[in-house]
Amino acid sequence: MSDRTLRGKTAIVGVGETTYYKHGQSPDPEFVLVLKAILAACEDAGIDAKEIDGFASYSNDRNEPTRIAAALGINDLRYSNMNWGGGGGGVAAAVGNAAAAVAVGLADCVVAFRGLAQGQFQRFGKAPPVTAVSGDPAYMSPYGVMSPLQKYAMRAMRFMHENKVDHSVLRAISMASYTHAQNNPRAVMYGRPLSEEKYDDSRWIAEPCRLFDCCQENDGAAAVIIVSAEKAKDMKQKPAYILGAAQGSDHRCGAPVMNASNFPSSSFASLAPRLYEMAGVGPKDVDVVQSYENFTIGVMMAVVEHGFCEPEECNEFFQLENLTAPGGKMPLNTSGGNLAECYMHGLGLQIEAVRQIRGDSPNQVPGADVALSIAGPMVHHVSTDILGSEATL
């Protein structure tokens, strides 16, 4: 294998998150949430915050590394990185960018983070308060296509048409998240289970999606700390080694007015093979999957594009018993995910993948050695990473 790989060179050694709130209900400003998540990750890793020397984030996070570094009193800020692209497509990319910086020596201890306080700022699910639009929105907003779901629903509608996918697929994905959340006291939907009837009776948001196909909008922050594999060995936590990370999308994915060449897609078609090649594993080796649910439709197509089932097999594959820990064929979103734990723009899913590798998930998959985390399906720049235990090196 070429040495131009991330495989096994770095590890996530600390994870931190704030309390997760419903949108608009954080008692803290967004910047304070970010600081609290970073400090929590430092405590988890057993390091002083002043050891951090780099930052990576995504989706135009408002909390700039220079402000964080000044606030924390960091002596030598060596790396800061913003992954372009809105939405949560950059979660695994931020982890990968942090890992890459550590692997080549640009920095020694990089935190990948995301903070959201939508009470303080604009909500995702509401149209921006503007009276005129130009560029791509000019071809969508006047037709009532403004929210993320409205922008992505047609990708799934075409996929479901081509592959004769039943709505039970979307319901199973939603119920997997809610089922897992019932064992996770951190989950916003802890104590609020979802039944088939409740799902089926829920209102349409935009066909083909019902209410329970859509993620929450939350306030909070999360952070993960990445150091070299060599350093990770002697630290407080069992390391979750980064086996591979990949980002991007295929031909003209971002073409305006929904003219992507591969339209009925979650944008991972060219990325997944690159990821598996770097990680040295395939879908059959993956023990547990976290797949960012902006909407269940994106999970469906992303799971297919990562090779867990063929497009025409969706109806058989996406059954609740296949998707739940501990015994399912492909345990999915074992913390409750964006639907039922918290929508921390997907960083919570990275933390759950780390927990699975450490063996302390609230829905532990026995002996999980390989955890795959998918970020931001259907947006135009997506990412995925694969974490592994020491046994995978």
Partner: protein, 146 residues
């Protein structure tokens, strides 16, 4: 029945400030639907961009299309995400392929009953919907072809 498919008050389209798509919006007000075609290699392109994605020529031309299309995908939004849609109820958005323009896709609403069954592959015909006001503009809507 109002003259427009969706209520007034949604964001109005304005040409990009670098001039890229002004010919499209101007032509629509004149009752013509134009998309881009590369003068060098003949590739059709939509939405607008300064350069041909096939041969990377900057020599893009605006070409009128017939307005005949095929429904490629669709959605029916119910939840109002904008104040202008409050209490309006569901509406249909279609993504339409234009077979006579290299199968580029355009977005519009499907005119008629918002509860109607939508068939992927159905033939549709463009209808230009004018919004006359201080800053007039026009939209391309679609109706099922007989």
């Amino acid at each position: 029945m109002s003259e427009t498919y969706l209520p007034e008050g949604l964001p109005a389209p304005v040409p990009m400030n670098d001039g890229l798509d002004k010919p499209y919006w101007d032509a629509l007000l004149d009752g013509k639907i134009m998309v881009q075609r590369c003068a060098d290699c003949g590739t059709w392109q939509w939405g607008p961009e300064w350069i041909c994605h096939n041969c990377n020529s900057f020599n893009m031309e605006w070409t009128e299309v017939t307005g005949e299309g095929t429904i490629y995908s669709w959605e029916r939004p119910w939840h109002p995400v904008h104040g202008a849609l409050k209490d309006h109820g569901p509406y249909i958005v279609v993504l339409v392929e234009l077979p006579d323009a290299g199968n580029v896709r355009m977005i519009g609403n499907l005119l008629g009953d918002p509860a109607q069954e939508v068939t992927i592959g159905a033939k549709v015909k463009a209808v230009i919907e004018r919004h006359d006001g201080d800053q007039p503009y026009a939209l391309v809507q679609w109706q099922v072809a007989d």
